[in-house]
Symmetry: D2
Subunit: 140 residues, 4 copies
């Protein structure tokens, strides 16, 4: 039951006029973690791959505490909470060793760009995702 | 039972490498609508105002169909689905006359920047918000 | 000797932690004005068009005074200062009726995406650009 | 004659609809490098510091070759080309070991936020900057 850990560097411009990382920017951090997980790690040789097309169908995101720009990255911990025939749900925590800033989950739909429609998850992809599957309900 | 309508201009850079408005950018559109509603329209004279401090506690967002950059703005329609003692919930649809692109809701917490803690919604603010209150459950 | 006027809406998130429109964001305003000028207005029927591919080769930008978010748009005034065989130079001012915030210029190179190389400006494009040609040296 | 080297991670969203890192985003990379150099490294104890306030007065930026998102960071190499009484000029190259993507320079003005006006460079800051001073004219 693996967890995907992504070390996510902040940018100074991630802060808004209130001097905190803006709520919208945390979804960029989730995107970076998801791309590392689904585009770089997930299989794709000889089969459709997530990098070849995937669509976000839904986000839920809870903001637990504010974050200010600093030079050290935050960690985005991700796992899979559900594997459907044609969608998967990813849960995440954005955190430091001591504390959690954000809890979130995303429904992702693999997409066939050539056919312009959603496609089913392949058996190879399912095997990969199952390593990260955790019964624990998504935090949000 | 009023609805707040915000005409939201797109930027070409809102598109990502897949050639659609990126899922994260839609939360910017919601932010712009919310700021127009809560910072520009909502009362604040002689009382704490939302513009003086407010924090997003949670977003839920459903992506209904993709959007490509064009010169005409999209409409963000917003209303209030819940008024608590120290929080409110806003529901939105991002749409054209013919179709909906996104349905979402946000929990906002008024914040006292000086005292550095959440504050209660004032009676004046409640009166303002009630004009936009709709029993209809948030779309997401 | 026409000038292209683009009414550019601000977003609250254009401000950085110092509470001003961030210096990088002004280049987004220039991009929006340029896209309106080159993608929407410029000819393209029956010929390669700028919308079909163009590359920024160089920017110069001078920051004259700071700008804070407000609901009224700023104006980006653009004109053409040079038309080469395979490049053009656009000059801009970002301003209100009373004052100038930014002066800038950009060298743009039309690009043939299929052939993956720069291309020459067509006679039809040159005629269009000459309407906006002004000998006045770029402000920067 | 030191050079400041900043390892700058890319984000997938740095690409625009043409599938390359957008020209505006490179100025974010320069900002990150500058903040690392001026906010993190530069002195400030017991004196006004750059982090306490500084304003970009001018950018020049030349785009040498396009860059596509990848997981490895790019290097931003920075040095100081001019130290004035109340401004400094930074030159940069954004590059890999094999090739250069961008050459640029920025004029920065230290700013006294309390007094709301530009301030002079301190003797301590000048000593720090001189380590990075290079007579070589800025690349642009």
């Amino acid at each position: 039951m693996a967890r995907h850990l992504y070390s996510c560097p902040l940018r100074w411009s991630d802060m808004d006029a209130f001097g905190h990382v803006n709520n919208v920017v945390f979804l960029r951090y989730l995107e970076e973690a998801r791309i590392d997980f689904m585009f770089r790690l997930a299989p794709g040789d000889g089969s459709p791959s997530f990098a070849g097309g995937s669509v976000v169908a839904r986000h839920e995101i809870d903001y637990v505490r504010p974050l200010v720009h600093r030079h050290a990255p935050v960690t985005v911990e991700s796992w899979v909470t559900k594997i459907g025939a044609a969608s998967l749900t990813i849960a995440y925590e954005i955190k430091d060793p001591e504390q959690v800033y954000v809890r979130a989950s995303t429904i992702v739909v693999p997409y066939d760009l050539a056919a312009e429609r959603p496609r089913r998850i392949t058996a190879e992809e399912k095997l990969f995702l199952q390593e990260y599957l955790d019964q624990e309900p998504a935090a949000v």
